[in-house]
Symmetry: C2
Subunit: 198 residues, 2 copies
Amino acid sequence: MVYPGSFKKLIEVLCRFPGVGPKTAQRLAFYLLGLAREDVVAIARAMVEAKDKLGYCAVCGSLAEMESCSYCSDPGRDQATLCIVQEARDVLVLERTGQYRGLYHVLHGALSPLDGIGPEELKLDRLEKRIAEKVISEVIIATNPNVEGDATAGYLARLLKPHSVRVTRIAFGLPVGGDIEYADDLTLSRALDGRREM
Amino acid sequence: MVYPGSFKKLIEVLCRFPGVGPKTAQRLAFYLLGLAREDVVAIARAMVEAKDKLGYCAVCGSLAEMESCSYCSDPGRDQATLCIVQEARDVLVLERTGQYRGLYHVLHGALSPLDGIGPEELKLDRLEKRIAEKVISEVIIATNPNVEGDATAGYLARLLKPHSVRVTRIAFGLPVGGDIEYADDLTLSRALDGRREM
């Protein structure tokens, strides 16, 4: 097929996006061609600008435009509660609930011996130091409910026990609005384990 | 939720893409942040470059980097056959089959009185002129198999009849690899209409 050179190149770069195959890339490319030039430039600029400005908070590892993120530098947040998540995007998801008002710690990964990711790669010594230095009363572990997330949560619980801090993990169970009939066995069994007085 | 400014802006522009909602946009944004700066710049540059270089062929309306597209300027193509399509992307789809070796004519739309798109908006006079000037023996209509596409095909057939040119429309029927059981009524009835001796 004879694609014009710059079109072929555009398709190629769009294909690199996660979840974008050749067909979606072509649709996105035609969408871009249909825009005014200034709009295409605005999109291009927003990408490079975000890449240039954004980094990770030196303290907690969440997405930040400055050295310190908006969570760490907010005195109104509960300084005694720390929520540990795997990725910076998980912070945004938790923030969306509007329920959590404590601090964060982003691991940027999970323990995975097969991928060569151990406690050192996750810089858990920095986390320990942070907990030792600050007056943290509760650590909430919010790693993913899968093998790596479970292993990481278990490791963290053992690691943090000597620091006389309350260590909890977010609950597993039926998703709200879900139907017991369609729940998978593992979720249902975790929901039973986690049952509460009412 | 407190999003860093440049991240919020990136999400906003990515959300404008067709089929991209806030969640996908966030995933794409984090993917971009994970790339090296030069890769982000390369993506941004490919977008603007494609927008700057690409236009539509002055003759047939397909995607082109120069005044004349690679189809119109290829003397090896069958100059006596013209395929009429709705959009420039349809040309790429037909080219992918590798079966068609004639010329194209892109309408950039279909007749749709409700949207105010009539024969003038599709510049059908230019198409008529093209057919009158060139020695075209067959016009293949490849508009979409829906109300607008059908209306356009019917209009074109009437319009081109006086030009003593063979006017055909691509076939409708069961998709290859499909299952009769799952075919919708309309497709099946069209497939029956279009049955051929074997």
